[in-house]
């Protein structure tokens, strides 16, 4: 069952089409990752789902019902940019947002969440005294305090250290296990690959990817090799049949041209240097992202 349904959504700002004829169905209980370059339409799509912006055309259904301009209950939303009342105390702020969402037993709940995120000693401090990472944790608590059925997180991991990112990841997975549906946007492709059941990519307002990681990778075929050699990226100089080399320093991800035989490439590299690792694989999400949104594609589109 789809809990969120967007059908042929269009949103225009002046002459700029921010979202162009977008159709997207999010199954209940899934984690759906929204990826795309800056300014591609992710936040606009999220704001339309949240009923903050209205689409020019198309329908949006949540819980099987059309949005009718009323506020969404049972939906938690963490916007891209954090916005908290700086002069309020941390616990007071959590309780204020909880009250707006009609949550009972707020005192206990607020204490529990503060403890979980190691913020108990900051409970009576003003928000302005918190670091960026701490504010983000507070904002995350505010988003999920009512255990909403749909949770929409715009860049939930940005600015967080690995420890706190791990806590938030655990909470997201736990919420999913308890039945919540989670949408989150991210620029971190490895997070999207590891966490998301489905990945949706929007580029220049249009949907360019939508499905499981596996189905997306299948679409792009096994045209990629990962090579670790003693020469590094220089090992690929002058080798035929290579479209692009993505150099990670210790490892190179190589996209081959169509009809290129990976064995021929391996032979050519081995003739130059000692190969430590060679793997024929599907392109990573990061590579797929770059293939779609790289500058030459921008020029094509513009």
């Amino acid at each position: 069952m789809n809990i969120i349904e967007l059908d042929n959504i269009t949103k225009t700002y002046g002459s700029h089409k921010a979202v162009d004829d977008l159709t997207l169905h999010v199954p209940k209980g899934s984690i759906y990752g929204f990826i795309g370059p800056n300014g591609s339409g992710k936040t606009t799509t999220i704001r339309m789902i949240m009923n903050i912006l209205y689409p020019d055309n198309g329908n949006i259904k949540l819980f099987g019902q059309e949005l009718i301009g009323s506020r969404l209950e049972k939906v938690g939303y963490l916007p891209e940019e954090r916005g908290l009342y700086k002069k309020m105390k941390v616990k007071e702020l959590i309780k204020f947002h909880g009250e707006l969402k009609g949550v009972a037993d707020l005192d206990r709940l607020a204490d529990e969440w503060l403890e979980k995120f190691d913020l108990t000693r900051w409970a009576d401090k003003k928000v302005e005294a918190l670091s960026k990472g701490m504010s983000q944790k507070v904002q995350f608590i505010v988003t999920i305090i009512d255990m909403p059925e749909i949770i929409i997180l715009d860049e939930p991991f940005s600015g967080l250290d690995p420890v706190n990112a791990e806590i938030i990841k655990e909470v997201i997975l736990k919420l999913r296990d308890q039945g919540s549906t989670i949408i989150f946007s991210t620029h971190d492709m490895s997070v999207a690959e590891k966490m998301c059941d489905y990945i949706f990519m929007i580029y220049k307002g249009k949907k360019v990817l939508d499905g499981t990681l596996q189905s997306i990778q299948e679409k792009f075929g096994s045209d990629t090799i990962r090579v670790q050699s003693e020469m590094g990226v220089k090992a690929f100089d002058g080798i035929q049949g290579i479209e692009r080399v993505n150099d990670f320093g210790q490892l190179q991800e190589v996209k081959m041209m169509p009809q290129t035989d990976s064995q021929e490439v391996l032979k050519a590299v081995m003739a130059k240097t000692r190969v430590l690792k060679f793997e024929l694989t599907s392109p990573s999400l990061n590579d797929i992202f770059i293939r779609i949104a790289r500058p030459e594609n921008n020029e094509d589109h513009e």
Binding site: S70, R71, Y77, L78, E81, R82, G83, K86, E99, L100
Partner: protein, 437 residues
């Protein structure tokens, strides 16, 4: 509604629980009463330094009379009879001869005034007692640095005229004592109107009208409602702008509708205004009653005051919140704040003509124009003049409808603008948002 209530509570606490609120609460009456207090305090503060005035007298006798009268005043009228304390400065009047080059003499005397050697000098024309053909000859000219406000000028004028009158009466061969009545001036005294006493049923005598009733009460009422609007409605423009630019609005819009958000802010501001106004009104009633001036308290106007206050704060609060939602930074807010405040300033500019003639066309029509009604109708009702009852009622209906319309339009504008980033929309675009929603 629960959500609006939560928002109101937050707004109210955020405003009231600050030091700024307490300081504002104290400063406001000081600002309002400050001018009056300074006038009252400085009224008794008389400059006791002696004043020397030189007199060039061409009349032959007026100058001498002034010299003598000043001497008499210095001996008998400048000390407090009970304490013997000096309460007025001494005036030293000295005659000087007119020189051939009179312009040069006047210039020299002027320099003496500038150098603080003398306070002023007077030129009494030759024909002041019996006027001749040349009007220039029958003038008394008082030269000083600030002659318009100088009390000695009035003293010279009063005494010179009194002397001239004596001389003229004497010249007619009449005994001065027998014509004293001729110069007895009687002023008309301002009275209120008679009414029926509700307790006894008898006719209640008219009260003597006072400046307090006709000027001070309307003035205080207007200042109070003006200050409440300035304290609670106007700041909403920058508050909403800040919450928009700091993305607080977007977070809240995950939980509440734009209309609930706006209502929370406006009604929170209203709660603050009502608290402040109640503190002032109760404080004033208590103090005035303690001072035994209880009968001066205009109780009849207080319900009207609170009704107008509620409508004015909601009206202007909504407009300010909606305009604030269209701004992205403080520059935008500054640019829009002054024009937005004009409807609140206009009633202040017309305060005097309205108090002077509360039944005049200007007062009547302006007070029926909804944006001005809360302030100007209140001023008219606070004066001792009875204004036709239909006017406050029509004014109230008008301002109620106008407020409802503003809340509707402001809500639509707010909803459209609160998330919008980039350039501030132009007026035409804003109107489009209001019409299209």
């Amino acid at each position: 509604m629960n959500k609006v209530w939560t928002l109101i509570k937050r707004e109210y606490r955020a405003a009231v629980k600050t030091k700024g609120f307490i300081i504002g609460l104290v400063l406001l009456p000081i600002m309002m009463g400050g001018t009056f207090a300074i006038i009252l305090l400085t009224e008794d503060n008389v400059d006791l330094k002696s004043k020397t005035v030189l007199v060039v007298d061409e009349s032959g006798s007026v100058g001498q009379f002034l010299v003598n009268t000043a001497k008499d005043r210095n001996q008998n009228f400048i000390t407090d009879k009970e304490t013997g304390e000096k309460i007025q400065p001494e005036y030293f009047f000295t005659l000087v001869d007119k020189e051939t080059d009179f312009d040069a003499q006047k210039l020299t005397l002027s320099d003496k005034v500038r150098d603080r050697e003398i306070h002023a000098f007077v030129h009494i024309g030759p024909d002041v007692i019996h006027q001749g053909d040349d009007p220039e000859g029958s003038r008394i000219l008082y030269y000083a640095e600030n002659s318009t406000m100088d009390p000695i000028k009035n003293w010279v004028s009063g005494n010179a005229n009194s002397y001239i009158r004596q001389v003229r009466v004497k010249a007619l061969g009449i005994d001065e004592a027998s014509v004293q009545n001729l110069f007895q001036r009687i002023n008309a005294e301002g009275m209120g109107l008679l009414s029926i006493d509700s307790k006894t049923g008898g006719v209640k005598d008219a009260k003597k009208s006072s400046e307090l009733e006709s000027v001070l009460i309307p003035y205080v009422m207007l200042m109070l409602i003006f200050m409440m609007i300035m304290m609670s409605a106007i700041p909403l423009l920058t508050a909403v702008m800040e919450e928009k630019s700091e993305r607080i609005a977007e977070v809240l819009l995950g939980s509440v509708t734009p209309t609930q958000f706006m209502l929370g802010k406006v009604l929170g501001g209203l709660a603050v205004a009502l608290t402040t106004a109640s503190i002032y009104v109760l404080g004033a009633v208590f103090t005035i009653s303690k001072l035994d001036y209880g009968e001066l308290i205009p109780y009849y106007i207080l319900p009207w005051f609170f009704v107008y206050l509620i409508l004015a704060v909601v009206l202007y609060g909504t407009i300010m919140a909606a305009l604030g939602s269209s701004c992205n930074d403080s520059k935008d807010a500054q640019a829009i704040q002054f024009p937005a405040m004009i409807p609140i300033m206009i009633p202040m500019f017309v305060l005097l003509p309205v108090i002077k003639d509360p039944l005049g066309d200007l007062a009547t029509w302006m007070s029926l124009f909804p944006p001005f009604t809360p302030m100007l109708m209140l001023v008219r009702q606070a004066t001792p003049v009875t204004i036709p009852m239909w006017q406050p009622i029509v004014g109230l209906i008008g301002v109620f409808l106008f407020t409802a319309m503003s809340v509707w339009a402001g809500g639509r504008l707010f909803r459209s603008c609160i998330i919008m980033v980039g350039k501030r929309p132009k007026i035409g675009t804003m109107i489009k948002y209001i019409i299209k929603g």
